[in-house]
């Protein structure tokens, strides 16, 4: 039973550092030469479109996959994680999009699912219900979530609240580094705000956060560092001082490719009405660097 470990490292200490990390699936290059740094009390945002390699990157940090080249350091020590459990033991907790909660179960049962504290021994070994409820309430309150009732099924919470419970759970179970996979992807503006506020609270508590997103606005609201991925390679790495939101958005959206796309859309709009089944005549793409948006 891991008790609540107060985040140890000083703010600014490097917790996780990836240098020139690559990952291949057979002859497919999923990730090449990606570097990233997560500091205590800092939020590193990983931005990229679908297929950019964000998931591969998460999976390496979370211990689901092993990197094929480059170095992966945790608190200055080079590491290769064998499995997600090993990542957890090193203080890296990942909150995936599906959150791993059971909708019909009460919030407090979900909070401790799989790691329930017990008291008594032998046949009288039982859940420490008081501790579970109190802790759930206190932990959520500490991060600014005031639940009406920890007994309500977690399915009755809003998407943002559920996300926050999942994050609070990871924090409580001793996470030093929090990896969040698109926490705002399915949420409205207000709910996203709630989650981002909570992410900031986790940062202020001294955790290092990796925030995966494809929304540069959300990233820029809380992020300290921004790593842009494109087709498995690093398209940019910036600190907050060195980049504006507009520039980040432009780079994220593909920069010159966005211009090209708008040209193309104009052309399709002009010529497209009569050519019924023809493929929209895109240029053979001097932006060979993109498989997602322009050419298809």
């Amino acid at each position: 039973m891991s008790a609540h470990t107060a985040p140890g490292p000083q703010a600014g200490t490097t917790l996780v550092k990836l240098t020139d990390v690559s990952k291949y699936y057979g002859n497919i290059r999923a990730l090449q030469g990606v570097s990233l740094e997560v500091t205590a009390g800092g939020i590193t945002c990983v931005l990229g479109d679908n297929g950019a390699g964000k998931s591969t990157l998460i999976k390496i940090i979370a211990g689901l996959h092993r990197h094929d080249a480059g170095t992966f350091e945790i608190e200055g020590e080079e590491t290769e994680l064998a499995n997600p459990r090993a990542a957890l033991d090193r203080g890296i907790a990942t909150v995936y999009q599906d959150l791993a909660v059971v909708p019909l179960m009460p919030v407090w049962r979900n909070f401790f699912l799989g790691s329930e504290p017990t008291r008594g021994r032998g046949p009288f070994r039982r859940l420490d219900v008081e501790l579970m409820r109190e802790t759930t309430r206190a932990e959520l309150l500490r991060m600014g979530i005031d639940l009406r009732d920890v007994d309500q099924p977690i399915g009755t919470l809003s998407g943002g609240e559920r996300q926050c419970v999942a994050i609070a759970r990871a924090v409580y179970f001793g996470a030093k580094v929090l990896v969040l996979d698109e926490p705002t992807a399915a949420l409205g503006v207000k709910q996203s705000g709630v989650v981002l506020k909570y992410v900031a609270a986790a940062r202020d508590a001294g955790l290092g956060v990796v925030l995966i997103t494809h929304n540069p606005h959300h990233a820029y609201l809380v992020g300290d560092r921004f790593v842009l991925l494109k087709r498995g390679t690093m398209a940019g790495s910036h600190t907050r001082d060195s980049i504006t939101l507009d520039e980040l958005t432009r780079q994220m959206a593909g920069g010159s490719e966005l211009d090209e796309l708008s040209h193309e859309l104009e052309r399709v709009a002009e010529s497209g009405r009569d050519t019924s089944a023809g493929t929209p005549a895109g240029p053979p793409s001097d932006s060979a660097s993109d498989r997602d948006d322009t050419t298809r």
């Binding site: 959150l99 791993a100 909660v101 019909l104 699912l113 859940l127 709630v194």
Partner: protein, 345 residues
């Protein structure tokens, strides 16, 4: 969640106790049981006599002993269609092993426990290995056991029922454990009622106050999430099937030691009675929701209806119709109550 820090209580309106009560899975069954009770109290004058009540409790207990583990299994998201014939298998193994192999029935009882648990393990193992629906797996087990019950009994005893074991060593002590009864005035109380209450108490304890209980709810309510948080999903499922098997063993021994001989064709169809009791008691067909106490109330409704019809001196042919109507009503009531409870939060 934007409100001030310590105002949690003011938003928990006084009505929350009522709402909590409404959100209990057993509520629909309790309301239904009260309705059935009142109905037969008027329809059948002898229904309210103490002796009738003990008869009702007895027939409720025979269903309830199995409905309880079946409810847990359904909360865990699975079915067991082999539960009915497994009871018969258990009784047959006990009886025939004792008769053929040894002089003491307790040996047969022990072997029967192992065999029945093995069947439960088989169900759970096949389910978790093949990932086929439990409906199919246990339907297969159901048919296989039905065939084995008949085939082996005919092969060994030469008829469709087993030979008497009443003169064997250990019979009276086994009977005391599984099929004794006490007379208190005009009332006869059978030991199965104690078994039933004890099982429901233990099952409730497991469900609500142990880690295993948390896992059962999680496995039924969201197996992927359970797996992701480190819940031993496979072990939980196999454990649930072995729980059904354990209770099938208790039921089987009761049948054997109260009637002394076992009919090999019995038990077919009873699996549905267990499922009905569990569903009337508030178990969701989709898993993740329900209670052991609810299954007991469901079994009690079964006992009241099956005997009430007799006390009212109606033709018992109507019984199944009542049971079906009750199932439908209870399920509708449950769905409605739960929807109300969840909306009102």
């Amino acid at each position: 969640m934007s409100a001030g820090a310590d105002t949690a209580d003011e938003r928990l309106a006084p009505a929350s106790h009522l709402k909590k009560l409404l959100a209990r899975p057993e509520l629909g069954a309790v309301v239904g049981a009260a309705a059935v009770f009142v109905f037969f109290s008027f329809a059948a004058p002898s229904f309210l006599q103490a002796s009738s009540l003990s008869t009702i409790l007895y027939s409720a207990s025979t269903i309830g002993i199995m409905a309880c583990p079946v409810a847990l299994l359904m909360i865990g998201g699975e079915f067991d269609l082999s539960a009915g014939v497994m009871v018969t298998t258990s009784a047959l193994v006990s009886s025939m092993f004792s008769y053929q192999m040894t002089a003491n029935v307790w040996v047969g009882v022990g072997v029967s426990l192992l065999v029945t648990l093995a069947i439960g393990f088989f169900n759970g193992f096949m389910l978790t290995r093949t990932r086929l629906p439990s409906f199919i797996i246990t339907l297969g087990t159901f048919l296989m056991l039905t065939g084995l019950n008949l085939g082996f009994t005919k092969l060994i005893s030469g008829s469709v029922s087993t030979k008497t074991i009443a003169d064997m060593e250990g019979f009276s002590s086994a009977r005391a454990l599984f099929a004794s009864q006490w007379n208190i005035g005009s009332v006869t109380l059978k030991v199965t009622i104690l078994w039933w209450f004890a099982l429901v108490a233990v099952a409730t304890w497991i469900l609500l106050r142990t880690r295993a209980g948390n896992w059962i709810f999680a496995v039924g309510g969201g197996a992927d999430a359970a797996r992701a948080t480190g819940v031993p999903v496979v072990k939980t499922r196999i454990g649930l099937y072995m729980g059904v098997a354990l209770c099938a063993w208790i039921s089987g021994q009761h049948i054997l030691f109260s009637f002394d001989v076992v009919q090999s064709g019995e038990g077919v169809g009873n699996e549905f009675l267990y499922i009905i009791a569990a569903v009337i008691g508030g178990c969701l067909m989709t898993g993740g929701y329900g209670s052991a106490i609810g299954s007991a109330v469901g079994a009690f409704i079964f006992g009241m209806t099956s005997n009430g019809i007799v006390y009212a001196q109606w033709n018992p042919d109507w019984f199944k119709f009542f049971l079906g109507a009750m199932l439908l009503l209870a399920t509708l009531l449950n769905a409605w109550v739960r929807k109300r409870a969840e909306e009102s939060k």
